[in-house]
Amino acid sequence: MPALTRWFLRSALVYLVAALLVGVALALPHGPALDALAPVWTHLFMVGWVTQTIFGVAYWMFPRCSWARPPCSSSPRSRSRSTRARA
């Protein structure tokens, strides 16, 4: 696993824990001041956890590009049919 993926996934886990902590705080009886945390919970979860996990896994798992493997360095229209079939 590449180092950048490890950074993405570890920080995503931190955001997940933070989001769930905020979720617990919102679930408990609370005053109106704490209602402002609702968008914080959404963003910790959707951006910090979901999006960051996607970035990390995509960086790790998606096909790699190089000049030796041109499909990534050319537009889809310019690829030959044989290259597409191989994918």
Binding site: M46, V50, T51, I54, F62, P63, P76, R84, A87
Partner: protein
């Protein structure tokens, strides 16, 4: 990676940028008097990020990764998956446009219906490909 996955994933990245840009604009204008008009962007912001980005990326990767039929040669009923791509994008754009512009409830409902049909179409496509370890890879 198959062509449909490329379309799904590139479209999802476009929605990610658009959704985040909309959210950033909302935050930037929150302190100004113009925020009243910008508050209407909340529905499109959620729609772009939740359906346009995460749901579409999931479909694109699933179409690519799920087990194939006939020893890996076929992805089955591909037409349903293409239909899901068209319906999902039409739905997201319809909901977003109807929420920001002269929003008509009928257009928004039609957009949501298109998203529902997209999910159903993708489900029909993917159902047979979700198999255990004994199935063909």
């Amino acid at each position: 990676m198959p062509a449909l996955s490329v379309w799904f994933i590139r479209a999802s990245l476009a929605y990610l940028v658009a959704g985040f840009a909309l959210g950033a604009a909302m935050l930037a204008l929150k302190a100004s008097a113009r925020y009243g008009a910008m508050a209407r962007a909340l529905v499109p912001h959620v729609e772009l990020v939740l359906v346009g980005w995460t749901m579409q990326l999931t479909m694109g990767v699933a179409f690519w990764i799920l087990p194939r039929f006939e020893g890996g040669a076929s992805r089955g009923a591909v037409g349903y998956a293409w239909g899901a791509f068209v319906l999902l994008n039409a739905g997201v754009l319809l909901v977003a446009a109807s929420s920001v512009g002269a929003g008509s409830d009928v257009a928004r409902a039609a957009g949501r219906l298109a998203e529902l049909l997209a999910a159903a179409a993708f489900g029909l496509h993917a159902w047979g490909r979700i198999k255990g370890a004994s199935a063909a890879p």
